[in-house]
């Protein structure tokens, strides 16, 4: 078997060290890894779920706009980056585990390593109500 590309492996290692939620997906949008802070967003532990399809993770944190209208997966920065292979950014709302609507900003970047192959993307979530 072949493992993940080194740039994905090192992205996971970076995510492991960060205190903000980080999601890493493959070129098909499958969620390959999310760190411990991201487990608070998804309400699931990576150890329990392993990889997840975009259909499973894209709606699980109930992304919505200011009026409460749901945002479909294709409106999420990470999914946009998968389609365009370009960075994306958006501020929107998600429901926390306590069902509180929280305003967050998400930035996603494409992961393209030394082989110049698009290996996937990484998204960082920022809780705008936290002042770290």
């Amino acid at each position: 078997m072949s493992g993940h590309a080194i740039e994905l492996i090192l992205s996971r290692q970076l995510a492991d060290c960060l205190s903000v939620p980080v999601f890493i997906v493959d070129p098909k949008g499958n969620l390959l890894f999310y760190n411990t802070p991201a487990e608070q967003v998804l309400g699931k532990k990576f150890e329990d779920t392993g990889q997840m399809s975009v259909g499973d993770w894209g709606t699980s944190f109930n992304p919505h706009d200011e009026e409460g209208n749901p945002i479909p997966p294709e409106g999420l920065p990470l999914v946009q980056t998968i389609k365009t292979e370009l960075p994306a950014h958006r501020t929107f709302w998600i429901n926390s585990l306590e069902n509180k609507s929280t305003r967050i900003s998400v930035t996603s970047i494409p992961i393209i390593g030394r082989s110049e192959v698009f290996s996937g993307a990484m998204a960082i979530f920022w809780d705008n109500e936290l002042h770290l």
Binding site: M1, S2, G3, I6, L10, R12, G113, R114, S115, E116
Partner: protein
């Protein structure tokens, strides 16, 4: 398929009398199978390759894992480069903003070296490698980028049914005590899977590693855990720290052996040693 270890030392060459047992030359190994030969890395160990024996043709191939000085410093004094009748092929990692030739030229040019690369008498042919598999003579070679600062390739070389994995500079997980539990998240996993012989970085003791996280090297313990995970059959611990005397390195290895329960053979690389892969 046989492997000759011409240089086993990491970082810089040492001629200290206290380093003679494991050798003082920096990384270079030679793979010999019938009439087929290939050289991996061009540390000062390459000066020990007998180019008069087995290299009767005009072509010589040198494969570089990366361009850190300890892996290229023998290149400048490698005799075939100065023989106009030789065709020297240097294969090394791409994946940089600069071509491999430009990067090599930084070292092989004044003021660091008297002769610029373009004036080297042999016919020099540079090949950039990425993540790929290809046939070279009777060898099947696979390369992947692995975890080490700067573009660094690991090599998997297969001859018939025998497999050698060469990852001389490798930190498969950074700052953790153990590898990730999922195989696909382990750097170099596919390269070394089921290898008959794994030559792997093991520069530090586990205590030293704690203060050298991210430097791109492994402890003895991590090298053995990696070997076990990839189900390699034989581990040669490579890239000895030049600051370690033979006595210290031996003591370190004995301590490691006392606390490990691996069943595959593990040994410290010795300069000049020849190993039959799968033998």
């Amino acid at each position: 398929m046989r492997v000759k270890l011409h240089g086993t030392r990491g970082a810089y060459p040492t001629s200290s009398v206290e380093n003679q047992k494991f050798g003082g030359n920096t990384p270079c190994i030679e793979i010999i199978a019938g009439n087929d030969r290939m050289i991996l890395d061009a540390g000062t160990g390459i000066l020990g390759v007998d180019f008069e024996d087995g290299y009767t043709g005009e072509r010589i191939d040198i494969f570089l894992t990366h361009l850190h000085m300890d892996h290229v410093q023998g290149l400048a004094f490698c005799k075939p480069l100065f023989n106009p009748n030789k065709e020297v092929h240097i294969w090394g990692p791409g994946g940089s903003c600069e071509p491999l030739q430009t990067r090599l030229n930084r070292f092989l040019s004044p003021p660091l070296f008297p002769i610029p690369l373009r004036d080297i008498p042999s016919k020099l042919i540079i090949h950039e490698l990425s993540e790929t598999s290809f046939t070279f003579g009777k060898f099947q070679i696979s390369t992947e980028f692995i975890s080490h600062p700067g573009p660094t390739l690991g090599f998997r070389v297969q001859y018939g049914s025998k497999i050698l994995a060469y990852l001389p500079d490798h930190e498969p997980v950074i700052g953790k005590d153990h590898l990730y539990p999922e195989d696909e998240w382990v750097s170099g996993f596919g390269l070394a899977l089921n290898a008959d012989l794994l030559i792997h970085d093991s520069q530090y003791s586990i205590k030293e590693y704690g203060s050298k996280v991210g430097w791109g090297h492994s402890s003895l313990e991590m090298a053995a855990e990696f070997c076990s995970r990839v189900n390699a059959k034989h581990l040669v611990m490579f890239h000895h720290d030049p600051a370690h005397s033979d006595t210290e390195r031996t003591r370190m290895f004995q301590e490691f052996n006392r606390s490990s329960e691996y069943t595959f053979p593990i040994e410290l690389a010795i300069q000049g040693q020849e190993i039959e892969v799968g033998g």
